[in-house]
Symmetry: C2
Subunit: 195 residues, 2 copies
């Protein structure tokens, strides 16, 4: 990918990414043209190609960056503690991070089908890496005898789906604060694994 160095790309790169994410999330990847993205950024369409080889590469960049940041943020959380403490930390982290990145999360679920097979495989691999972080906690809890889970793989998928679902209904300033929502989901997740 040809990418300009220096102050021009430092300003334009993040702006291109922000505008592309906003437009893809609003209208869908297929409905947005490179020309529209360029217009929103305030550059000529040709200038976009100094930053990215094509529209799909731009989408992949957004989805991969989101997954990289999710995994890095989780790994930067305090470590240690027993499985019970680690599971609580995961639940609260996942809800908080996903609500903070709602647009990126939405895009990640909506536009997977528009990736090339190679790029799709990369994103699937990163998702698997993140899911494995949770599954390791569930397995540790089984080993410690504090969780009672018929199938740790299914529990992993069930818990992630449940937590990510918060993004579909949560509204800031609604009946419950983010902290109250996290408390209630932690109660349900904890019970669901028999702890």
């Amino acid at each position: 990918m040809a990418r300009k160095t220096g102050s021009h790309s430092e300003i334009t790169g993040p702006k291109i990414r922000a505008e592309a994410q906003r437009l893809f999330a609003r209208y869908g990847f297929a409905a947005v043209s490179m020309r529209q993205i360029a217009g929103a950024v305030g550059v000529q369409a040709g200038a976009l190609y100094l930053y990215t080889s094509d529209k799909e590469a731009l989408l992949f960049d957004l989805l991969k960056t989101h997954m990289d940041e999710l995994i890095a943020a989780w790994r930067a959380e305090p470590a240690g503690g027993d499985a019970h403490a680690r599971l609580e930390r995961f639940v609260r982290f996942h809800i908080r991070f996903n609500l903070e990145r709602a647009e990126a999360v939405f895009l990640s679920y909506m536009e997977l089908r528009n990736l090339s097979p190679e790029n799709f495989a990369v994103i699937e691999g990163l998702r698997k890496t993140y899911e494995t972080e949770l599954e390791e906690i569930l397995k540790a809890g089984q080993d410690e005898g504090v969780f009672l889970i018929p199938d740790t793989k299914l529990a992993t998928m069930a818990i992630i789906a449940m937590l990510t679902g918060v993004n579909t209904w949560f509204r800031e300033g609604g009946r419950l604060s983010r902290a109250m929502v996290a408390d209630i989901y932690w109660d349900m997740v904890r019970k669901s694994v028999g702890a």
Copy 2:
């Protein structure tokens, strides 16, 4: 909506709906033209407009029919029993119905943003109706003292997200049968509500 009567529409209507659903699910609503749908059905583009007023009306028809059938199928399930039995029935029903209609479920989640505000409100109303069926069971269980749920509304959203998530990873012929998956999810849901 102008719709022809007689054998022509009886054959073409379901075929148009099936091809539109398949194409929308595969390529996304925005990327599919009425001409492509007509081509897949084997009619001229003009003939489609005898069936539907435009592409958005066709999408709304698909999404509304899916929700109508979901609600009707749930209401056709055996009634009665205590909250525990009713919740188990709901869990098994939701997983089974959604796996049988995977394409329609996928479309319902992906293309909501392409509905007009009026049509979106209709679909949201039907979703609310379905969610209320589950919430009534959870409330009944609270009243009977068999469930322990901090917030029945959040539990409703959490359970539906968890169950619908099965569609994203389940593969026929994989490690677990549909029945085994339903058993495991019922175990998790039951525990999550403290039963």
